[in-house]
């Protein structure tokens, strides 16, 4: 497989899926992101990202039972795949390495 890095937003979406766990589908994922980041996100951007993450093999999805309050449409649930977990850990490791040894003085804007 070619190297496929994680973008910042992709990381956020993967982490939201991890937080929501079993009930992870579009609506709670968006809520989770907005709650944790404290900022509004474009819902469509999350859905486009979910589709891209699935193409990359980081998540998988399945359709739930259709319900009347959804106009007869089922929910698309998603869950993390091992590749997704690995990508998240790798992203965290890289970030931690970059943070390691940094002193507050180094972050002062010059």
């Amino acid at each position: 497989m070619t190297h496929q890095g994680l973008g910042e937003f992709e990381q956020i979406v993967l982490l939201a899926i991890a937080h929501v766990r079993d009930e992870a589908y579009g609506i709670p994922i968006v809520d989770e992101i907005e709650q944790r980041t404290g900022r509004r996100v474009a819902r469509a951007a999350v859905y486009v990202t979910l589709r891209r993450l699935e193409d990359k093999g980081f998540i998988s999805s399945w359709i739930g039972e259709p319900t009347p309050e959804r106009g007869g449409k089922g929910r698309r649930y998603v869950k993390l795949e091992p590749a997704g977990v690995k990508a998240l850990r790798e992203a965290r490791r890289v970030a931690e390495r970059m943070w390691q040894g940094l002193e507050p003085a180094s972050l002062r804007a010059r």
Binding site: Y25, G26, I27, A42, R43, A44, A45, Y47, V48, R51, R52, I63, P66, P68, E69, R70, G71, G72, K73, G74, R75, R76
Partner: protein
């Protein structure tokens, strides 16, 4: 019984259309769920607005996502042509000079036609008015949709519109008049003047370079006669004299004071260099559909759109319909983009015609490019072994397609450059023709030079041609055929064109065969017309235009009538003086050039036949004798019986023709009742 609320239907349809199939149901369901929650919390309207906004957001983001995915799938990451591909492409062209020459020339001509057409159509038929917020400047006209004509006698309507319309501000009017600029006793030069309301300068939003523009007070009857001059006139006729403001000049019979100079390039309303106030006598009653020809313009009010202004104009027209005669009430009042009023596109369908023409020109490029693609494909087929070897060595399909695209791009870009050269020459010729047509002063918004837009359009055509010429054959050659090619490597098997390309060749030949005969017939007709002799010794005739200045300043019909009376006196004196000039055999006067005479419908009294289209010219009694035309039946005109304004008609040429005489065939003269006949001719 309560019905479960559903999201706005149209928005939902758009959403489902915009989403990819695999995401459609789940997103639709999620938004449905959220819509219900929003509706319960904030009400139906807020929920509907929220749903629409989300729909638009999803539509935009997923469309962009689709485009990115499509590009990646089509091209692959390694399909982007490199400089090496361009070099290889140039070498391949050098190896096939015949193909490069024929294909390149064909595409150059096609690109030249396409880009030239784009430049001409855009500059002439879809121009941008180079004024601040020029797209909000509009013209108002009255159109006869049945007869596809325009009525310019708008004085009464102008006064109504100026009083009542709120969607259009600074409503103004103008007409173009010709006068003599008398710089010294006996030295006169004919100039074109815009007789315009002061609001024209407010609409244009261009301040004067020196002095002032016209102001409303200048329009008052009895106000001092003033003139504003343009930059070019200031430079050429007044030697850029800084002290020209306040100088008095004689225009026609009236002394005018120069009050301002407009900056370089300013020619509003059309191509004018002199502006005098349009004076409308408020005391004189103006009947609808009478008075001089005027063009009316204005600027859309803040917040108003062309549609809302049109709606207000239509309501105004209905309100006054009862005051109008049936003939005038039948006319439709319309708001059109300012430049359209001069093209008469609204009534003659020229805009539509040229849209079709633009499409046909683009189609021409596709046809030519397809022809070249067939040639290129024939060559690509012969390179089947090369492509097979490269594939076997690991080159992806995208890589090979990219290289063949680069080869085609080299050819099409060279063609586009040659084509642009042809366009540049063609536009210079077009500019000259346009300048001649507008007597040296084309409308100020027409700039048909080689613009950046035209260059970009030509390069776009080059890319399109490269796609047709390079990518299509490449996709074909690297598709199913490729496996067979790899299998038959070294077997010496002959390459074949295949059914698709054979069909393409047949189609293009069919199109060529279909286009060629009409094109040849049209060319032959044009040539014949160009080579046809005029039917009289045209070298022995000279022609000049003259215009009689009105005595009165007002724009009433009475003033026109007075003008006509004074014209009779002047014309008679002029003809008498010409007759005494040495070398002049005779002279005649017509109200308009016979070859550009008015079109009209006419019917004979008591005749049962339907009205007939004719050309109408106003001529004097000397007209036929001067051209040596023998009247076939009846008699020619009597000098004393011809008041100015009489109307005579030609029957369509070829209806009756006598051998050995010029092809101008005249019908009988009408009995003396000119006013009535004029009216009937208009009808």
């Amino acid at each position: 019984v309560s019905v479960a609320p559903t999201p706005p239907r149209i928005a939902r349809a758009i959403l489902r259309h915009a989403l990819p199939e695999d995401a459609c149901d789940s997103v639709d369901g999620d938004l449905h769920e959220l819509y219900i929650a929003h509706r319960m919390a904030r009400g139906a309207t807020a929920a509907a607005i929220w749903y629409w906004l989300e729909t638009l957001s999803f539509a935009v983001r997923f469309t962009i996502d689709r485009i990115i995915r499509l590009m990646l799938r089509l091209l692959g990451r390694d399909a982007t042509p490199s400089m090496l591909d361009v070099k290889l492409g140039a070498r391949m062209l050098a190896k096939s000079p015949g193909l490069a020459l024929i294909g390149g020339l064909g595409m150059a001509v096609a690109v030249a036609l396409g880009a030239g057409g784009y430049a001409v159509v855009n500059s002439y038929f879809y121009p941008e008015l180079p004024l601040p917020e020029g797209d909000r400047v509009v013209a108002i006209g009255k159109f006869d949709t049945q007869r596809r004509t325009e009525d310019d006698r708008l004085l009464h309507d102008f006064l109504v519109w100026r009083r009542e319309l709120r969607s259009v501000v600074d409503l103004g009017a103008f007409r173009t008049v010709k006068r003599n600029l008398v710089s010294a006793p006996g030295v006169a030069e004919a100039i074109t003047i815009a007789e315009m309301t002061a609001s024209g300068f407010r609409v244009a939003r261009v301040p004067s370079l020196r002095g002032r523009a016209l102001i409303d007070e200048d329009e008052a009857p009895g106000a001092p006669a003033v003139v504003v001059i343009g930059y070019n006139a200031w430079q050429s006729r007044f030697a850029a004299d800084a002290a020209v403001i306040g100088r008095q000049i004689r225009i026609g019979r009236v002394i005018h004071t120069i009050v301002g100079i407009m900056p370089e390039g300013f020619g509003f309303p059309v191509n004018h260099q002199y502006w005098i106030p349009l004076r409308i006598d408020p005391r004189a009653p103006i009947a609808p559909g009478t008075g001089p020809d005027l063009d009316v313009f204005g600027r859309l009010a803040p917040g108003a759109t062309k549609q809302s202004a049109q709606a207000e104009l239509t309501v105004t027209a209905y309100r006054h319909a009862a005051e109008l005669s049936p003939e005038v009430a039948r006319l439709q009042s319309r708001i059109v983009p300012y430049t359209d009023i001069f093209l008469h596109g609204e009534v003659q369908g020229e805009a539509e015609t040229f849209s079709v023409l633009r499409f046909m020109i683009a189609l021409l490029l596709v046809i030519v490019a397809t022809n070249v693609a067939v040639l290129v494909y024939a060559r690509t087929v012969t390179r089947g072994d090369e492509i097979a070897v490269r594939t076997a060595l690991g080159a992806t399909r995208g890589r090979i397609v990219g290289q063949l695209f680069a080869e085609a791009l080299v050819l099409s870009t060279l063609s586009a450059l040659v084509g642009l050269g042809i366009v540049a020459v063609g536009l210079r010729m077009f500019d000259r023709a346009l300048s001649d047509y507008f007597e040296g002063h084309p409308p100020f918004w027409i700039h048909s030079g080689l613009s950046l837009g035209t260059i970009a359009y030509a390069l776009g055509l080059a890319v399109l041609a490269a796609v047709i010429v390079g990518v299509l054959p490449a996709l074909r050659a690297t598709g199913v055929q490729l496996r067979a090619a790899i299998g038959s490597l070294g077997s010496g098997a002959k390459a074949r064109l295949g059914t698709t390309w054979t069909a393409l060749i047949i189609v293009q030949i069919a199109i060529t065969v279909a286009i060629l005969p009409p094109a040849m017939i049209k060319a032959a007709r044009t040539l014949r017309t160009a080579l046809t002799e005029s039917g009289f010794a045209s070298g022995q005739y000279v022609v000049t235009r003259f215009e009689i200045e009105r005595d009165a300043e007002s724009t009433t019909a009475h003033a026109d009538s007075v003008g006509a009376d004074s014209a009779r006196v002047v014309v008679n004196a002029l003809l008498a003086r010409l007759a005494t000039e040495p070398g002049v055999v005779g002279a005649t006067m017509t109200a308009d050039e016979p070859w550009e005479s008015r079109r009209a419908l006419i019917e004979a009294e008591g005749a049962h036949e339907s009205s007939q289209p004719v050309r109408v010219s106003t001529v004097d009694a000397n007209y036929f004798p001067l051209f040596g035309v023998r009247v076939l039946a009846g008699r020619s005109f009597w000098e004393a019986a011809i008041p100015l304004g009489s109307v005579f008609a030609t029957v369509p040429s070829g209806t009756r023709r006598s051998h050995g005489t010029p092809s101008l065939v005249w019908s009988r003269t009408f009995p003396p009742a000119p006013g009535r006949l004029v009216r009937r001719a208009r009808e």
